[in-house]
């Protein structure tokens, strides 16, 4: 059936009193950005809600798109009718009959915000509920645990009728809580960490380390694809590609195989921190999950984390791998993440990496390298290539692609 409106309820931000207006207009911008493919839509904002008039647009697809926009609590496809009992009854039946799976029990829920409406909510409850029951064989009322709740929202501009409430992504509108750097490998965890951070309103710039020719171009392409997927949620994401070959080969020659991951990770954090400074980011987000691999034991996290001064945000730290995989499937990064290209951390993995590295030993090695380490960190930062990813692809490479456009 064709609904007239999508009713969007904004999420956590409605809890905040003073800046509500600002948040709401930020949210409206995000919603419009997500729905640019539907120019026929019209938007009305009212206290913590956005009414989207469909004007014939495909409501199902627009709704599906909105479920990926952060800051949205729930979404309902609704019918809007005049203040006329017959019309309301008609719409109520239509909405209920369109509901899948077919409900066997329901309850009425009437909200009369516009007090000039002639019938009060109890009366409406009865008048419409009885009509629905008469016209729906085998439907019963269950006020405790109904299969569906048929809702009438009586406002001055009309009556909204609906019974479907689809959960949104929740969280805050993107950018509301500042900016952070995301350590983006090609694996399953880091894109999920990025998505989780973005859902909390953090703007993200991704940092990826590559060791060409020890790692392949495909490994980088994979990360580009992951960043592009994150851009679907974020609108536009910077991806910093850091050349890590020199540093990695230097560290690999220190005859400290069991510490190489620890040493690499510390250098990566130092580089990320420099990039964060340049971008004005105030934290570093990682996909660490406690105990998952040697570098993510508490001992390793301690020694590695001390290399950075910025706060390290680890949204997945207490999550199980299966939970992380489930999110990664839901947000559409899993299929890319499991492509079999080695990133620079899997490359020099020793047979027995340290699970409890000694901070003093690690610092000793770094001190011995002294200026050389410092110089290579600087060179890596200087050699970093930055791509701007949008949901459609990569901004810089658009020129190259346009030469190929003639073939498509």
């Amino acid at each position: 059936m064709n609904f007239d409106y999508l009713l969007v309820r904004l999420g956590e931000l409605t809890l905040k009193g003073r800046n509500r207006g600002k948040f709401e207009s930020l949210m409206l911008g995000k919603i419009k950005q997500a729905l640019t493919a539907y120019p026929e839509l019209q938007y009305e904002c009212s206290y913590g809600r956005v009414y989207i008039k469909l004007n014939g647009a495909d409501g199902e697809r627009a709704l599906a798109r909105l479920t990926d926009v952060f800051g949205i609590w729930t979404i309902s496809p609704v019918l809007k009718v005049k203040h006329d009992l017959e019309e309301i009854r008609h719409a109520a039946l239509a909405v209920l009959h369109a509901h899948l799976p077919v409900p066997s029990t329901f309850k009425m829920s009437v909200k009369r915000a516009w007090k000039d409406f002639p019938h009060d909510s109890m009366e409406m409850n009865r008048l419409v509920g009885a009509h629905v029951l008469r016209n729906t064989p085998a439907l019963r009322v269950d006020v405790r645990e109904p299969d569906v709740e048929l809702r009438l929202d009586i406002q001055q501009q009309g009556v909204f009728v609906y019974c479907t409430v689809v959960p949104g992504a929740g969280g805050f509108p993107l950018g509301m809580n500042g900016k952070a750097m995301l350590m983006l490998s090609g694996g399953i965890d880091s894109p999920v960490a990025g998505w989780t951070a973005m859902r909390k309103g953090l703007e993200i710039e991704a940092v990826h380390f590559h060791s060409y020719p020890f790692t392949s171009q495909q490994a980088t392409d994979k990360v580009v694809a992951l960043a592009q997927r994150l851009a679907y949620y974020g609108g536009r994401i910077k991806l910093h590609l850091v050349p890590f070959t020199e540093l990695q080969t230097l560290l690999a020659q220190q005859k400290q195989d069991h510490l190489i991951i620890t040493l690499m990770r510390r250098s990566m954090l130092r580089i990320a921190e420099r990039l964060a400074e340049r971008s004005g980011a105030l934290a570093i987000v990682t996909g660490d999950s406690l105990g998952q691999v040697a570098s993510q034991t508490l001992g390793s996290m301690n020694v590695i984390g001390r290399a950075a001064e910025l706060p390290l945000l680890r949204p997945l730290v207490m999550m199980d791998k299966l939970e992380i995989i489930r999110i990664s499937e839901r947000i559409g990064t899993y299929e890319t993440s499991i492509l079999p290209f080695e990133d620079c951390c899997t490359l020099f993995v020793p047979k027995s990496p340290a699970t409890n590295p000694n901070l003093r030993v690690v610092e000793g090695i770094e001190n011995a390298l002294g200026e050389q380490l410092e110089r290579l960190v600087g060179e890596a930062v200087a050699g970093t290539e930055t791509l701007v990813m949008t949901p459609e692809g990569q901004e810089e490479r658009k020129l190259a692609a346009s030469a190929e456009d003639r073939w498509f």
């Binding site: 495909q218 190929e404 498509f408």
Partner: protein, 385 residues
């Protein structure tokens, strides 16, 4: 003498720009799209771009597009791919008696391997009934395979209704052979209830040797070919990059122009039918109601006349049509499709198929009709009743 090519349902002349694209890609991107070096990854990216383009045009997800060598492979892959993974308890398939030989032959092959196959018969208009599909479903049914538009008569099959009735039976997969329909009949993959949809590029003015199979997200197929694991292990074999990109372009051109082309082709069909009405020897085998018919196919019978005689006489006048009955030197086999429609032996044996395309205008149809008329007049004294 000018040639009037009325055999578009067999194969179409490719778009000029598609021919150029295929040639350029052959020259510039000869590297193996699965190779690791730059030339290979560039070629691989073009395959993925083509996949995204095809998916976008059809309302599918890129991961739902599997590139194949064409319609026959897509149909084989869909059917064997499902039944190859079906357990012993699901060894039943429902199809129709009017499918293209690549579906029909696959069904026959599977029958010889112990799969039960139900062949539904159509009505006189060449259309199967959704209720017959529903009635044929058994506990062990793994697959329903029904074509979108019939290749001999152009009769449209009620795939939306069948898709809707199969929605409640998620264990029964639904395959649609869309080879004759792509670019001609609107189709909404996202809401169709169809799990697998076959297409072939050279039927919509793309290159030969390229096709695709849409596979509903999450559905696994048993591969026909073992090898390098291309197409997510579903279809091994070096990607036919020129064919794949050429197909993506042809599909775009076909889909973008579909509304105007449909209108034009239905006008041509009406024009041809009004001419044919005045040739009493010829009987229409395609649906008379154009809402049930593809715009570009008209199937006619001259009962009592060997169709290849008609075909060769028309050919002498530069008019190319096809017969659908496979003739061997001695025996004349009636069309399986027309026989299933219950049209009788004389009609089923004497049919020709006229199928037109973008290059045709009203005058071409007039010339076709005129030559049909004069040919029939010449053959009239030779009728065998």
């Amino acid at each position: 003498m000018k040639t009037y090519y009325f055999d578009h349902s067999a194969s179409t002349p490719p778009y000029e720009s598609v021919i150029r694209t295929v040639a350029e890609l052959m020259a510039e991107h000869y590297a193996h799209p699965s190779a690791l070096h730059r030339a290979g990854t560039d070629a691989g990216k073009l395959v993925e771009r083509a996949r995204a383009a095809v998916a976008g045009l059809l309302g599918a997800a890129p991961g739902e597009v599997v590139f194949t060598s064409g319609g026959t492979e897509s149909n084989n892959l869909a059917i064997k791919g499902i039944l190859g993974l079906a357990g012993r308890k699901t060894r039943h398939m429902i199809t129709t008696a009017i499918e293209h030989s690549s579906v029909h032959g696959t069904a026959r092959q599977l029958e010889s391997e112990g799969v039960r196959v139900t062949y539904l018969t159509p009505d006189e208009q060449g259309r199967v009934a959704p209720s017959d599909v529903a009635a044929a479903i058994a506990d062990d049914t793994a697959l329903v395979s029904v074509m979108h538009a019939n290749n001999e008569t152009g009769a449209l099959q009620p795939i939306e209704e069948i898709g809707a009735l199969l929605r409640d039976r998620p264990r029964v997969r639904f395959h649609v052979d869309g080879v004759q329909a792509v670019g001609k009949i609107p189709f909404d993959w996202a809401r169709s209830g169809v799990d697998l949809y076959s297409a072939s590029a050279h039927k919509f003015r793309g290159p030969r040797g390229a096709g695709y199979l849409l596979v509903r997200d999450g559905l696994k197929l048993h591969p026909l070919l073992a090898g390098g694991g291309q197409e997510s292990d579903t279809r091994s074999g070096t990607h036919n990059l020129p064919g794949i990109v050429g197909m993506a372009q042809a599909l775009r051109l076909a889909i973008e122009s579909m509304p105007e082309r449909r209108k034009r082709m239905y006008e041509l069909r009406r024009r041809l039918l009004s001419h044919v009405e005045r040739i009493p020897e010829l009987v229409l085998n395609s649906p008379s109601d154009e809402r049930l018919a593809s715009p570009q196919i008209v199937n006619l019978s001259y009962p009592g006349m060997r169709p290849e005689v008609l075909l060769h006489m028309l050919e002498e006048h530069g008019v190319l049509v096809s017969t659908q009955s496979a003739c061997s030197s001695k025996s004349l086999k009636p069309s399986r499709v027309l026989t299933a429609m219950g049209l009788g032996e004389a009609r089923a044996t004497g049919s020709i198929r006229v199928s037109f395309g973008d290059e045709h205008v009203a005058e071409d149809i007039d010339i076709l009709a005129e030559r049909l008329q004069s040919t029939v007049a010449k053959l009239k004294p030779l009728e065998r009743n």
